[in-house]
């Protein structure tokens, strides 16, 4: 089987105790029984609001935390029983500036972790150079202390460090957080390159476009539960109308509006008056058919502008989570 990750009914509670009496103050149910599988070579995205349980999932899979109940297998190994086997084959990159030795240089950080991962001496130097190159860290800064780096440089170094053991499986927890648009795009390109190299990647993010662009499949998590799971295209199909057509007209009659609303391919329509023009918003699943029939109805009315918008993953996300969260 080509399953890289197999999670079944995974639960994780955090017990918060009072410092003085050690009594249990609160139990946070971070994961409430999640199950999913990730195939080898896949890029799998975990989305969800703050506190949804994304980092907890990633930490359990990377052997930093134990499940409270349920099972999690990485590359066939159980996280509870065979952490060492898993550790040899995976690595984790956390977004942000932590997880590096600030008082060491890039090269020193890389050499240290290369030793801990037992990277063969013969290929060590070349691998470090290649990875730093891949991560796009300028060579003239390799000997400077990490504490003198910008956020983006630290993040690049983290990526390079995360690849030092040539892992089959890479976990990225919000890898683009705090990067400038170009930096974030470069990082996405690195992720794509890694996929081409055959690596399996699980990553979490708050940026929908990023998930849409990179992920083969996505799970949306909320309050420790999986709300939905599927390819970005599937999710968009399942949870929202596919297209929104916006037309700008100088005028329109009630009769026209009625006829438009009764068209077969128009699922929903809304009008709005803006700066003396009429804006029509039409939701549809069949774009070309809808456009054709709408234009037929509007024959004779001057159309000033037309735009067609494909619904985005963000629309799905907001639809699934938005309302509920605005209330709470």
């Amino acid at each position: 089987m080509n399953v890289a990750i197999d999670i079944h009914e995974l639960r994780r509670d955090y017990v918060i105790r009072s410092i003085l009496s050690n009594k249990i103050k609160r139990v946070v149910k971070a994961l409430n029984g999640i199950s999913f599988k990730v195939k080898k070579g896949e890029i799998f995205g975990i989305l969800g609001p703050n506190g949804a349980g994304k980092t907890t999932t990633v930490k359990i899979l990377s052997t930093l935390l134990l499940p409270t109940s349920g099972t999690a297998k990485v590359l066939g190994y159980d996280v509870e029983k065979h952490p060492i086997e898993i550790r040899k084959r995976i690595n984790l990159v956390m977004g942000g500036e932590r997880n590096l030795y600030q008082r060491l240089s890039t090269l020193e950080n890389m050499e240290y972790f290369a030793e801990l991962y037992d990277v063969p001496l013969k290929i060590r130097k070349k691998r470090i150079y290649d990875l730093l190159e891949l991560a796009g860290l300028q060579e003239e800064r390799w000997r400077d202390k990490v504490e003198t780096y910008s956020k983006g440089m630290k993040q690049r170094l983290q990526i390079a460090r995360g690849l030092i053991n040539d892992p089959d499986f890479l976990f990225l927890d919000e890898p683009t957080i705090g990067l400038d648009p170009i930096g974030a795009r470069e990082l996405r390109n690195i992720v794509k390159k890694l996929k081409r190299m055959g690596k399996t990647i699980i990553f979490t993010t708050h940026y929908m476009q990023e998930a849409d662009e990179l992920c083969d499949r996505i799970a949306i998590l909320d309050k420790g539960r999986i709300i939905t799971i599927g390819t970005p295209t599937d999710l968009k199909k399942m949870h929202t109308e596919k297209f929104q057509i916006e037309l700008i007209l100088s005028f329109i009659t009630h009769e026209h509006i009625e006829r438009l609303q009764n068209l077969k391919y128009v699922n929903h329509m809304r009008t709005k008056e803006l700066e003396k023009n009429i804006h029509l918003f039409i939701d549809t699943q069949a774009c070309s058919e809808a456009v054709e029939s709408v234009f037929n109805v509007l024959h004779g009315i001057p159309i000033q502008d037309v735009s067609i918008k494909k619904s985005t993953l963000e629309d799905v996300y907001v639809k699934l989570l938005g309302g509920e969260h605005n209330q709470s």
Binding site: T63, L64, R87, L92, M94, R103, L104, E108, E115
Partner: protein, 257 residues
């Protein structure tokens, strides 16, 4: 071989990081001088035993200061900076890395030891009538072993306590009094002496002090006690590490913030 290479990498890294801190440079290079100067004025310089405290006692005390301080604090530092997570994800295992760190700190602490010896012999003009250098070196190694085992256990327990910074000084200072580094254990109240007797350093110090006072000392009993206690401490530390590992993964408290 693999373990030796990891140890060397840890030693290199630990030395670089430690010496990039000014406070650390101070405590390694300057503190020992304070120590021996202080003892120089406290003790009557005439007798053999006082010169052994001024020179060897303060050297050992400085060594203890460096080893204990950095061993306890280093884990906490790594926890705060998040590197503890990255390091404990490596297949070599968190325990061996911490153990290496502690040996590394002891090796770095030897610089302090050396500074004290040089300072007290050149500036304070103190000389030690060492009975046998071969015995001295051998027993000094046993002392280092007791340092390493104690620091390892302390580092583990402090990590378990989750509040290393607060506990560190509470543990570091009593050792100065209890272990016979700065004055003989015999002058302590009887009940305190009982506490002393479970500290391996105390037994090693007893033997070493005799040799550097020019006395023949062929009794290996105190050294044997020191070794046995040290082994016990190591076993205890190893066991605590099991608990730490489980606690860390189960409670999620030792990982991040």
């Amino acid at each position: 071989m693999r373990y030796l290479r990891v140890f060397l990498a840890v030693l290199k890294m630990q030395t670089k990081i430690s010496f990039s801190r000014n406070l650390f440079k101070f405590s390694v290079l300057i503190m020992p001088i304070f120590f021996s100067t202080l003892l120089y004025f406290v003790y009557d310089k005439a007798s053999n035993s006082s010169s052994s405290y001024i020179m060897l006692g303060s050297a050992v005390a400085s060594l203890w200061g460096v080893t204990c301080y950095s061993s306890a604090i280093e884990i906490e530092r790594e926890r705060i900076s998040g590197t503890l997570e990255s390091v404990s994800m490596t297949p070599i295992g968190f325990e061996f890395i911490i153990f290496s760190k502690i040996i590394a700190n002891t090796v770095i602490g030897l610089i302090s030891f050396g500074v004290t010896l040089v300072y007290s012999s050149l500036i304070l003009q103190i000389s030690l009538p060492v009975y046998s250098y071969r015995q001295f070196v051998l027993w000094f190694l046993i002392l280092l072993f007791s340092f390493i085992s104690m620091s390892f256990l302390l580092a583990t327990l402090l990590t378990l306590s989750g509040n290393a910074f607060a506990w560190m000084s509470t543990v570091q200072y009593p050792i100065y009094f209890l272990s016979g580094m700065l004055f003989p254990v015999k002058i302590l109240p009887k009940w305190v002496q009982y506490i002393s007797s479970v500290i391996p350093i105390r037994w090693s110090m007893e033997s070493l002090m005799k040799i550097v006072s020019g006395m023949p000392n062929s009794s290996i009993i105190p050294n044997l006690i020191s070794i046995i206690l040290s082994l016990l401490y190591l076993a205890l530390a190893h066991y605590s590490f099991r608990i730490i590992e489980i606690k860390r993964r189960k409670e999620g408290t030792l990982g991040g913030f």
